[in-house]
């Protein structure tokens, strides 16, 4: 069961001590089941806000936001937060297994799944470590593994690779593409990296700040799986230049 997302005139205003903050002006966004959408935009333009509303972590102020069929409870959502948010009292593998534990999966099977996922994100030698013993990028990879544990049909990722070096990032990108192709999940991923956006997205949604809003959408035509060699093609360069000029405005 994949998931379709429909946002119509969805906006968000935070009430703060210094008065209301308009984080996101009304915006429309339709995402089809199994689509890979990337949100691209400068800091503070409301990417996290939009993603958290889609994940039902907070309410939208106006408009309508529908997820089908996540609401029926048949599907699961994996959320990668901007911070790793690992439980410091659980080992790496216990953190990864948490979604399965909450679903009361037996310990032996969920730990096996967790160890498998740890090796997929390159942490097979750290399954028994405490989160505090890992670097920031390693912690972020644990949180990605955790989001994947329950085989989510909707995957919401907030700058999942922000803390990684370029090489690891490229590797994780193609691993994510592979997993996504195998699962058919709907993915919404936030990034600041134009290259990452083009490598991963079916469609790139560009946002801008003050007030936060959606300014354009770009389809990415490259066939999959995409390799780093596409970076040198004129099409890639053209899309990248176009995105860059939109972000500068």
């Amino acid at each position: 069961m994949t998931v379709a997302i429909s946002c119509q005139q969805v906006s968000k205003t935070y009430e703060t001590r210094n008065g209301p903050v308009n984080a996101l002006s009304p915006c429309d966004l339709e995402i089809s089941p199994g689509e890979f959408v990337v949100l691209l935009g400068p800091s503070g333009c409301g990417k996290t806000t939009l993603l958290r509303m889609i994940g039902r972590l907070h309410d939208h102020t106006s408009g309508s936001l529908d997820l089908t069929p996540v609401e029926a409870g048949e599907t699961t959502t994996g959320f990668v937060f901007q911070q790793a948010n690992l439980m410091p009292w659980m080992t790496v593998e216990e953190n990864v297994a948490l979604p399965l534990r909450l679903k009361k999966q037996p310990k032996a099977t969920r730990m096996e799944t967790a160890r498998d996922l740890c090796s997929r994100v390159g942490l097979e030698n750290f399954t028994k470590s405490w989160p505090r013993e890992l670097s920031g990028g390693m912690q972020q990879r644990v949180s990605i593994a955790r989001a994947l544990a329950d085989d989510p049909q909707l995957l919401l990722m907030d700058e999942p690779f922000g803390a990684l070096d370029a090489l690891t990032r490229t590797r994780m990108n193609s691993e994510l593409e592979r997993l996504w192709m195998a699962s058919g999940a709907t993915v919404v991923l936030v990034t600041h990296s134009i290259t990452e956006a083009i490598m991963l997205a079916d469609r790139i949604v560009v946002m801008s700040a003050r007030p936060g809003r959606i300014v354009s959408e770009t389809r990415v035509p490259f066939p999959r799986p995409r390799g780093t060699q596409i970076e040198n093609t004129p099409e890639f360069q053209a899309i990248a230049a176009d995105l860059r000029s939109q972000l500068e405005h």
């Binding site: 994940g55 039902r56 972590l57 959502t77 959320f79 937060f81 911070q83 948010n85 439980m87 410091p88 009292w89 659980m90 948490l98 979604p99 534990r101 909450l102 405490w130 505090r132 955790r146 329950d150």
Partner: protein, 256 residues
């Protein structure tokens, strides 16, 4: 070698303390009924400490302490959880919390004796009342320290209330709760002994008063040492429990 250097100053100062005490008693000729020298206390220590009657009194004090501590822990954690969970309950309970903090709790002991008699019950209640407060406060503090990001994870995974309590709230609050329990075990010992001072005919607190009335100051010192030992063992057990349960926490290695 390092260990010796680490403990040497402590050992030297303790030995020096007893030496000065001994010398003072001999030089000043002070009446041993007022201050017996350490050698005199040492000479009777095992006779008094291993006397079956002393052991019976000690076990009564220990039972009262542990029962009071257990009550304080269970009630303190439950009320603490309710206070942290509901602002309404917090506002309702707040006057009582403030009152129970500022009232000199030993002043309530006579009242508890009237209500619960001269047996163990009144001492257990005193121990529990004195030990309750730090458990309550630290439970509230601990539960408030749940990180919003961790709560987001449980929310996004659609965890049930029980799962959030067991897998998120309790582990988050555990370091603070255990610190509160560490204080509580010490306070429970004090509560039990003070209760025995004022009412009843058993326990080390009663023995202390009885030996004082009989001017057996050297025996009084033995009882003080026994109470110190009990307090130390209980505290060490709590510290061990804390190390075992929150070994994941960073500041653990600092030995705090």
């Amino acid at each position: 070698m390092n260990r010796i250097r680490h403990f040497a100053p402590g050992i030297v100062s303790v030995v020096g303390f007893f030496a000065v005490w001994e010398i003072y008693c001999r030089m000043s000729g002070i009446n041993p009924l007022i201050l017996p020298p350490p050698s005199q206390i040492g000479a009777i220590f095992f006779d008094v400490a291993l006397d079956p009657r002393t052991l019976r009194h000690a076990s009564i004090t220990l039972t009262e302490t542990l029962a009071g501590f257990g009550l304080a822990t269970v009630i303190g954690m439950t009320v603490g959880w309710a206070v942290a969970a509901s602002p309404l309950i917090e506002r309702a309970v707040h006057p009582f919390i403030v009152a129970s903090q500022v009232i000199p709790k030993v002043a309530l002991v006579p009242l508890f004796v009237v209500w619960f008699g001269f047996g163990m019950t009144s001492k257990i209640v005193v121990a529990a009342v004195i030990a309750f407060f730090p458990v309550l406060v630290n439970t509230v503090l601990g539960l408030r320290s749940v990180q919003p990001g961790h709560a987001d994870v449980f929310h996004s995974l659609k965890a049930t209330l029980w799962q959030r309590i067991w897998l998120l709230q309790i582990p988050s609050a555990l370091p603070a709760i255990l610190a509160g329990m560490e204080m509580a075990i010490v306070l429970a010992t004090i509560g039990a002994v003070v209760g025995e001072f004022l009412g009843g005919s058993s326990g080390l607190g009663y023995m202390a008063v009885a030996t004082m009335n009989a001017f057996q100051t050297d025996r009084l010192f033995v009882i003080i040492i026994l109470l110190t030992l009990i307090g130390f063992v209980l505290y060490a057990m709590m510290a061990g429990l804390k190390r075992a349960l929150v070994s994941w926490s960073d500041n653990q290695k600092a030995g705090s």
